[in-house]
């Protein structure tokens, strides 16, 4: 111990000179710069919403009756049915699959555990694009069925057409269920072990345990996942368009692109916002009752029930179905088609250029979103007085995630067009030369939309990372002479970079996949991989589309690994 090791010699320790105390409040060392930065971010996020409202109000007085008579009834009905169908499907598949891998042990379970996440890599428009061809009357599936049944001609065997609302619901359900699977699986694995075992010991059959114990416990997580899946479904433009479903998003796009009617598009976007708010309200209500979900003190893994023989095969088959429909079939189709294309025509320079564009816009947006997300998330951790306004600022900055790309794009156009005109005018007055469209013409608008839409991801992952750094470490940094920014850089960042990088990866992939905002806000004549695919599918030409789609899916696979690691509770 100390006295044993230290010989009784005089202390050679001399206290260094004390720092001079400055009696100034230290305005710029305090929370003010953070508040300004977070406030600016919140304003940037809220601006498109405000503009949307103004734009919708400016439309001619005849706008709403026309919309209500001709556009909205169909769009609202289709969107409502789509959301209801997809909601039911993702809850059924996601929860069922999560329970299957959490409660049972069977051959292939470990593989399924992560494979069930794979459909996350397939954007809705790509799954639709793939199945459009796969299930085409002369496509491989129908041809195979005819060959099996000995039918010669497509006309002699009419199978249900995938280009329909039920077809759209099915396809979206099979790629969006991981949003439910992921949180439900984490919850089943982590929280309900003791309670599930208590249920069993009280004499409940496994099925009854699921229905009466595990399901109610997981309800908040399921609600959260479902709301995220439905926001994705609402955001979808490609699948609905390809499969002939006139959702609100499709209507917004058509109103703007085909009729150049911005007030009309804004009005439809406002209606869509009602759907978003309803979804958020449901999710909030579910979260409020989250309290009992955290009852278990020490997470302990549930012991799985071992299955053998026919039940094991059945479990494997049930678990494989969503992976096969949502990932394996479309990915295999794309791989085969892409291979054909590359063999036939090589890798076209167009695709390379588009890949570069995708990389550029997504990369810039990722850097910005990561930096801003970290700053926004760090505020409440770095400054001690935890005012409610600070939390409110953070919440505002993350609102964009609930805004489908189409709403965001329509909301961004008026302010950016105004800004462009003002900058152009100012430049003309000052230098005599115009600047052109600085915002809408250069991709600034696109990057802006990406950042607003995905800021919640980086804020969320940064918050999660920072939350794992004990508060005392930050305090220690301050007391040992570092300012707030230096503490963030020297203490928090080195300890949270995996979370921050994980967030950046998620945002990058989300940007690569994002279709509606890209479609509406990209500079003239600039194509990304996503818009290329959309263009080909819309025209009905099948050239480099498969290559573009395969690239997007490949990029989309990266975060699956990250998500899996983040959601697997430590044993």
């Amino acid at each position: 111990m100390l006295t044993d090791h230290a010989p009784p010699r005089p202390l050679s320790y001399a206290a260094p000179a004390l720092p001079r105390l400055s009696p100034t409040p230290g305005l710029w060392r305090g929370p003010l710069p953070w508040a300004l930065a977070a406030g600016a971010v919140a304003l940037l996020v809220l601006a498109p919403l405000a503009a949307l409202g103004l734009e919708a109000l400016q439309g001619s007085s005849g706008l709403w009756p026309h919309l209500f008579a001709y556009v909205l009834p169909q769009a609202i009905l289709d969107t409502g049915l789509l959301l209801a169908g997809v909601g039911l499907l993702v809850v059924a598949i996601g929860t069922g699959a999560a329970w299957l891998v959490a409660a049972y042990e069977f051959p292939g379970r470990r593989l399924l555990d992560w494979a069930l996440l794979l459909p996350l890599a397939v954007p809705t428009y790509i799954v639709a694009y793939a199945y459009l061809d796969l299930l085409h009357p002369v496509g491989p599936v129908q041809s195979a069925i005819r060959a099996l049944l000995g039918v010669a001609h497509p006309r002699d065997l009419m199978l249900p057409d995938v280009r329909s609302l039920p077809g759209c619901i099915l396809l979206l359900g099979f790629v969006l269920y991981p949003y439910v699977y992921l949180p439900a699986r984490a919850l089943f694995l982590m929280q309900s072990a003791n309670l599930v075992e208590a249920g069993r010991s009280l004499g409940l059959a496994p099925a009854a345990v699921f229905r009466r114990v595990a399901l109610p416990l997981a309800r908040p997580a399921i609600a959260l996942g479902t709301s995220l899946a439905l926001l994705e479904a609402l955001n979808d433009i490609g699948a609905a368009e390809f499969l002939g479903v006139r959702t609100l998003t499709v209507s917004i796009y058509a109103t703007w692109v085909n009729r150049s009617d911005l007030p009309g598009a804004a009005a439809i976007a406002l209606v869509m916002l009602v759907f978003v708010l309803a979804l958020m309200a449901v999710e909030r209500a579910a979260r409020r009752r989250r309290g009992y979900a955290g009852a278990a003190q020490r997470p302990r893994r549930m012991s799985r029930q071992h299955l053998t023989g026919a039940p094991a095969l059945l479990a494997l088959g049930l678990g494989t179905l969503p992976v096969a429909v949502g990932f394996l079939a479309p990915a295999a189709y794309l791989a085969v088609e892409a291979l054909h294309r590359v063999r036939f025509a090589g890798v076209s320079p167009t695709i390379l250029r588009e890949a570069l564009n995708t990389l550029l816009y997504s990369g810039i947006a990722t850097l910005l979103a990561t930096g801003l997300g970290l700053v926004v998330a760090a505020g409440p951790r770095l400054f001690s007085d935890r005012g409610a306004w600070r939390i409110a600022l953070v919440r505002c900055a993350t609102l964009g995630y609930a805004m489908p790309g189409a709403i965001l794009a329509i909301g961004l156009m008026p302010p950016l067009a105004g800004l462009d005109a003002a900058l152009d005018g100012a430049s003309r007055a000052l230098t005599g030369a115009g600047l052109g469209l600085v915002g809408l013409g250069t991709g600034v608008a696109l990057v802006y939309a990406y950042v607003v839409r995905f800021l919640a991801v980086t804020v969320g992952t940064s918050e999660a990372g920072l939350a794992r750094v004990p508060r005392s470490l930050g305090d220690a940094g301050r007391v040992l002479g570092r300012g707030a920014a230096a503490t963030l850089a020297q203490i928090h960042l080195p300890l949270t970079w995996p979370a921050v990088l994980g967030g950046a990866l998620l945002v990058f992939v989300d940007c690569v996949k994002e279709l509606p905002a890209t479609l509406l806000l990209r500079p003239l004549n600039v194509e990304t991989l996503a818009t290329h695919l959309y263009g080909e599918a819309a025209r009905g030409t099948y050239e480099d589309g498969a290559v573009a789609a395969l690239l997007i899916v490949a990029v989309g696979l990266a975060p699956v690994a990250v998500l899996l690691r983040m959601s697997t509770p430590k044993a």
């Binding site: 006295t3 050679s12 206290a15 409040p25 004990p470 305090d475 002479g481």
Partner: protein, 377 residues
């Protein structure tokens, strides 16, 4: 003005807290606390969890802002109306309950963290400190690989290395098991003495406060209850709460009549109380003398408890509901059932005003808590 003085004057306390209040939403964590710590002294802030002692520590460090009042370090105003010197500019050291060692830095890097911009001599001094606590060999280890006691020493050295004008310690020994704690506590106090460090230590453990501090500030519900040397607090508690916090006692409710409080053990002097005032006569074991039967009041031995350094007798006294406890040297031969004679040592008997609105039950519960926590280690 005092806070504009450019030099530390010998008359300035190392720390002066003046009427500090702190409110978190609807919770008033501190309610008008005034306190002075003299240069070179070790003061303990003693109180239950939630009494505001840690909040006060954080305010002094600059990690929280008081809603009212002023904080002065060596006579310089560091917190007050319109003034908030950030923690990094206060020259105050803080040792955290969880040690808060940076897990991505080695022991040496942790200790040098607070020395940025200091001359090389400061680094040597820090290395020498590490040597003095016997951890030079672990300088390149990461904190997670050290034992709890070693982490505690690294945290102490890290806080001392920049030569703080005031060292704040937040429950510095609570993460150590009991066997180790006494040793580490002694070592820590020795190091504080050798470095001449002024320190303010937060603890919920009265034994720890008595062992470490030259003076104790007892807190309750955001207010200071009593400040004084440990002995003064123990022997002359200003309130029933203070008496209960520092040691267990058998309490006998009584009323004052002509300057005396009547108890089943006879009358006790109660100077300074109004006629008819409700008081409690507190009898700690050392206030009760045990002799042969016939000397003083009659009592019967219920149980004899050997606690190592002493022997406790549990005694039944006619007219007293709860058993009385007395400490004997252990050489006496009395056992259960024996009749003995009791005398009260007047100077050790405490007579304290009854605390209002029947709060005694709640006090007993809060008092029981630190004891329970101690025994759980």
């Amino acid at each position: 003005m005092r806070e504009q003085a450019s030099r530390v004057r010998p008359t300035d306390p190392a720390l002066a807290v003046e009427d500090v209040a702190c409110r978190f939403g609807r919770v008033l964590a501190l309610d008008g606390v005034s306190l002075e710590v003299r240069p070179g002294e070790v003061m303990a802030l003693l109180g239950d969890s939630g009494c505001g002692k840690s909040t006060l520590l954080r305010i002094v460090a600059g990690l929280e802002r008081p809603t009212r009042g002023r904080v002065l370090l060596d006579g310089h105003l560091v917190a007050g109306p319109g003034v908030a010197v950030p923690p990094e500019a206060r020259g105050v050291g803080l040792m955290f309950q969880d040690y808060a060692l940076f897990p991505h830095l080695t022991v040496a890097e942790n200790i040098r963290f607070g020395l940025a911009g200091r001359p090389p001599a400061a680094r040597e001094a820090a290395d020498s400190l590490l040597d003095q606590v016997g951890l030079s060999a672990r300088a390149d280890s990461y904190p997670q690989t050290l034992s709890g006691g070693e982490q505690q020493r690294v945290a102490l050295v890290r806080a001392l290395a920049p030569g703080p004008r005031l060292l704040l310690l937040d429950e510095p020994f609570s993460n150590l098991d009991r066997r180790m704690r006494d040793r580490v506590r002694e070592d820590t106090v020795a190091l504080l003495r050798r470095t001449g460090t002024t320190a303010l230590l937060v603890t919920h453990d009265p034994e720890e406060a008595l062992a470490v501090a030259s003076r104790i500030a007892l807190m309750r519900r955001g207010r200071l209850v009593q400040v004084g040397t440990g002995e003064a607090l123990y022997r002359r508690p200003a309130s029933l709460f203070a008496a209960r916090f520092l040691a267990d006692a058998v309490e006998i409710p009584a009323r004052v009549a002509s300057g005396r409080a009547e108890t089943p053990l006879g009358p006790v002097a109660a100077p300074g109380f109004a006629e008819g005032a409700a008081v409690r006569v507190c009898l700690r074991p050392e206030a009760v003398g045990v002799g042969p039967r016939g000397r003083g009041r009659d009592a019967q031995v219920l149980r004899r408890v050997f606690v190592g350094s002493a022997t406790l007798l549990l005694l039944r006294v006619p007219g007293l509901a709860q058993p009385l406890r007395a400490r004997i040297s252990g050489t006496e031969s009395c056992g259960p059932g024996d009749a003995v004679g009791l005398t009260l040592l007047e100077q050790a008997v405490l007579v304290l005003a009854e605390e209002d609105e029947g709060s005694s039950l709640e006090e007993l519960q809060t008092e029981a808590r630190p004891a329970a926590r101690r025994s759980s280690h």
